[in-house]
Symmetry: C2
Subunit: 304 residues, 2 copies
């Protein structure tokens, strides 16, 4: 059972096609669902992947273009029918919160759950943090204010080595301090080094979601060495000039960001409707970066 | 080639399912497309049926519930990408026009075509009329203001009987008056009765679209003897009490309206997501009315 996985609901761009839906991605982190963008049809794709609305607590919008947002009114009003209770937070810019409140006020009145808005800005900031993970924003360069999101687990406590802890009679009251890395000092002053009592924790996992943006050479450093990087690949290198003009990236540029960030793997997407085959995006990215995952609707990508 | 046909894009109700999409219907009248309601996903269903956006000139909204409206922002913004030019009119109530203008102003700016709103009211009225057809509204009884639409061809001019017109040397200048039903009076005063010079025109066709409403005994008379009646069948008779409570109709009640209106055929739809099979709607309606067409996504129903 994966504790951190990515569901692709839609990886097309603005113009819907028979092959691709508009943008929407769901992160499943230990059973909590985080949606990034909600293009038209996302609520159906969500159900098709057997995800539970009752576990969806956060929706993060990258920017306010229709192909990333217009599935939200329908999904929220469907949630309203469910009588689910609970609460949900939508993370978006101030003007997005304003128009969405107007739309929900009209088409999704009297919701049986609490709907909050967290107003974000196009800047580097930590916008959500718990004991186990943190979500931060990175400003991107698109035709309208846009942010990417980085989801990262915090460093985990060390694993207790049961046998050694018992052998050295470590009192239970000390366990959390041992987990935190402290040595154990016996009453006779003997020091039992932490490395004997504990083992390394499982590594902290991270996912970055970068859509939509023109190629930014300085982006890689802001992202860091994530385990999985989704970076939009709207165009192929043959349309690099248009990509730049439309403030989008090519598969080659996405691969350069993955390489420079030190990511383990690159996930493609936001394909322009002009291309008949997606395989070319993978080919182009592979020239620059070795671990390329070709995105498609319904894809489940595990980080562990 | 049919001159008057009905494309079903979505015939589900509020809760989207794997089997049914939310409401949307397209009327193809001599190559002109009229959309009635535009639930989420309608723009894709429209393309799946190989319909041309360039021929879509009117969108008629029955009421302002999300499952009848929330596909419109996405469709309009997609049309905006097409650079189609031309013009489109959305027929809706005043508050619908207001919220849609706000949404389009945000998500579908700088459209390359002219988008007009025709503000209608929940009353009996002719809202659109040309030389060949007329569209009228009928007020329904739902939880919010709602109208049904009736599309009817006007009576057509009589067909000229070429041989007789030539035989009696009817001058060309007279032809339109003969088509309109006038007799032909020769210079010597001989009267050639119109019935000899013309044949009956093909019958005028009509379609009524009734969604959503509680059963209204007086509705049939307002609709009249249409060729095809779509009447919502959200529930089965076993849930008649709930249908009434939710201001919806059962398949049995829809069949009663079709029978009392003198319709040729009844088209079902707006099925509640609670039912696993649609066949029961047909069975129930057939007990009351003989010509029942079981609606489904992708269905094409010809009136001629």
């Amino acid at each position: 059972m994966s504790t951190f996985s990515i569901h692709t609901l839609g990886c097309g761009s603005a113009k819907p096609t028979m092959r691709h839906q508009p943008s929407s991605t769901v992160i499943d982190y230990r059973g909590n669902l985080f949606m990034i963008d909600c293009g038209e049809g996302a609520q159906l794709a969500f159900q098709r992947q057997r995800l539970k609305f009752s576990r969806l607590r956060h929706v993060f919008l990258t920017h306010l273009h229709g192909d990333h947002v217009l599935g939200l009114p329908g999904m929220i009003s469907t949630l309203g029918l469910g009588g689910a209770g609970g609460e949900m937070t939508i993370h978006t810019f101030e003007d997005g919160a304003k128009i969405l409140k107007e739309i929900f006020g009209f088409f999704a009145r009297d919701l049986p759950f609490k709907l909050d808005f967290n107003v974000i800005r196009p800047e580097e900031a930590v916008i959500l943090e718990t004991d186990s993970y943190r979500v931060r924003t990175i400003p991107l360069k698109h035709r309208v204010p846009t942010v990417g999101y980085v989801f990262e687990e915090k460093s985990k406590p060390r694993h207790i080595v049961r046998d050694m802890v018992d052998f050295h009679n470590v009192p239970f009251s000390m366990i959390n301090r041992i987990k935190a890395g402290e040595d154990f000092i016996k009453e006779d002053g003997t020091v039992i080094p932490n490395r004997i009592l504990t083992a390394n924790p499982s590594p902290s996992l991270s996912y970055a979601h970068i859509s939509d943006t023109v190629y930014m050479p300085d982006l890689a450093e802001k992202i860091g060495p994530v385990n999985l990087l989704f970076h939009e690949t709207t165009y192929l290198d043959s349309h690099e000039a248009e990509a730049k003009k439309r403030y989008h990236s090519t598969a080659r540029q996405a691969a350069m960001v993955a390489r420079d960030a030190g990511a383990d793997s690159l996930l493609t997407g936001h394909y322009s409707s002009r291309y008949k085959s997606d395989e070319d995006f993978r080919k182009e990215a592979l020239d620059i970066f070795p671990n390329v995952i070709l995105n498609r609707e319904g894809l489940l990508t595990r980080l562990d």
